[in-house]
Symmetry: C2
Subunit: 153 residues, 2 copies
């Protein structure tokens, strides 16, 4: 299935969960949408069999659980598992880019801290070195040797 050579964690996540509909379903579950019919309404043009297939795969992958809340007619609801919830930062950073760089309006849903209800600004990444919040444009991926070589003597 995988088309990448290494066990890069970025590639692994893209392989398993990088599908667009999967990430938009996670977005909606994070917004508190749980019912199949409400997911379908929110996702718009998704074909019903595609939505069912995605939800089934996400269940198999351990990111959603399915609960039947009515037998006649058959109606099911979906919730994120703990692993599914761990996809939240990906959805939030995708959204932040769309607002900041692609000119999309800020939606009425924002990132909140489940524990205290406070807002978490998606750009507030705290640096362990200087203690400051680091904007997205000041992040890079470096190996420790490069960082060491840069540091003042």
């Amino acid at each position: 299935m995988s088309t990448y050579p290494t066990d890069c964690p970025v590639a692994a996540t893209l392989d398993a969960f990088g599908d667009r509909w999967t990430l938009l379903i996670v977005r909606d579950l994070l917004r508190g949408i749980t019912r199949y019919a409400d997911l379908q309404r929110s996702l718009g043009p998704i074909a019903p069999n595609l939505l069912s297939a995605r939800l089934k795969r996400m269940e198999e992958q351990g990111v959603v659980t399915r609960e039947v809340y009515s037998e006649r007619p058959l109606r099911a609801g979906y919730r994120l598992t703990e692993r599914g919830h761990a996809l939240a930062p990906i959805v939030i950073t995708l959204g932040r880019f769309g607002i900041d760089q692609l000119g999309r309006p800020e939606p009425d849903y924002l990132a909140y801290h489940v524990g205290c209800g406070g807002r978490v600004p998606p750009t507030a990444w705290r640096c362990q070195g200087c203690g400051e919040d680091v904007p997205a444009g000041e992040l890079e991926l470096l190996d420790p040797h490069t960082v060491a070589a840069r540091a003042p003597a």
Copy 2:
């Protein structure tokens, strides 16, 4: 081109930059890889015409710039623009999920703050409410009414 009904910023970013190869190219440019040949080596099984096509599209989208550093033979290097750099948090959160949830080893590249060279732990999102760093599993997307309804009277 777009297959989504709304102007959701998550969907907009997925439409423009959600392609797997695009995000893995961003990963490599963030790691300081710039030459076409080095990108190809890092990306492994990508077909040369596909890599060229992706880089060309990324140039048109304003996320990379191309510089020719040798005319004979023709050799070009690529760098992220400011907009391209704004994709860093997406790559970092994808990687964090792969390490924490899919059991991939932590790679030798990490997130660093360009300004001070300090490490930025990808899970350290600072909450504006309680001032604490919020782990991924405690983030959710809620509209302000839901948050207000939850707050203690």
